[in-house]
């Protein structure tokens, strides 16, 4: 298939991910005639790659699509990737904000367990108040574990929550 280039007057954005959405829009507007988009280094302008059989009217349509396009728009796939990246980036911040547990060494974590929810505390339960105290400490521990597990999940599989 022979091709030719249509040169627009629009400057290509400096970011590297504007092409995908414009490609989708242009190919949808001119199926079988518009083959893609790009940028022409000597001018820094956006170009359309056209089938050589495309007409002058097709070229004009391509230029109109390029001129009207919002170069900040992203394809659903790009947006999903951006959302996943944001989730993963936020995960470490959330983990760091878990009081105490975020920075515990293994020794410190075990020391907390030993002083709050170990067999020692359970066996010392003499009344309802004692039991409530131990269960409240268990709730604190579980809450910290839930927060850390969710942060780890988001760092490992950010798409699960998006």
């Amino acid at each position: 298939m022979a091709t030719r280039i249509v040169y627009s007057n629009r400057t290509a954005p400096s970011n590297s991910d504007w092409q995908a959405a414009l490609h989708t829009a242009l190919v949808a507007a001119l199926p079988g005639k518009a083959l893609g988009v790009g940028s022409y280094a000597p001018t820094g302008k956006i170009i359309a790659i056209m089938d050589a059989a495309a007409t002058g009217d097709d070229d004009n349509t391509a230029l109109q699509v390029i001129a009207a396009h919002d170069t900040d728009s992203r394809t659903p796939e790009q947006q999903a990737a951006l959302d996943d990246a944001a989730t993963a980036a936020d995960a470490s911040t959330r983990a760091a904000n878990i009081p105490s547990w975020a920075g515990f060494t293994e020794a410190e974590a075990l020391a907390w367990l030993d002083s709050h929810v170990s067999a020692t505390q359970v066996n010392a339960i003499a009344n309802l108040a004692d039991a409530k105290a131990v269960m409240n400490d268990m709730a604190t521990l579980l809450r910290a574990m839930v927060r850390l597990i969710v942060a780890l999940r988001d760092d490992t599989w950010p798409g699960l929550s998006n």
Binding site: I5, Q19, G36, V37, A41, P42, I49
Partner: protein, 179 residues
Amino acid sequence: MASSVTTYDTTWVTPRTWSTGELVTATLLNTHLRDQLAALKSPGYFQCEIDEAANYTTTSATFADVDATNLSATIVTGGGNILVGFSASIDASTTQVVNFVVDVDGTPYPGDDGIGGTSNDMIATGGLVSFSFIIRGLSAGSHTFKLQWKTSAGTATMYAGAGTTNFDNHPRFWGVDLV
């Protein structure tokens, strides 16, 4: 900064078939000995050197000119084989294959998906794509050589000397007549 296309036409001519008893003149010797030796010493060639303020990109899955002005050259060849070559730093936006062909007067060399390819290692990091090969059996005369590319998915970027950190690279596209 400015890209440049340097060309030099081949001056090789079809060698003369001499006849027994033929008078060998200075003119004939200069043409068929001196000038032919000079043509062998300095064969026709072209070299495109790129230095621009922006980079090239494409999303086309069909081969298209990278730059019909600066990655294109027309030279006179002596007929036969031409050695062509290319090198540049290429970036991939996703898992994709980026391919190249040398279009000679409208015919792509080689055929099918041409030459080249990229891997995941080039995603957002760039990598060297380089090739050279012989185009065989071109007729004597003027020929236009153009570099074309395509990508199987996403966006392909060819760094063109635009000052991108660590990728202020300058593509080269060249050819020499193997007279």
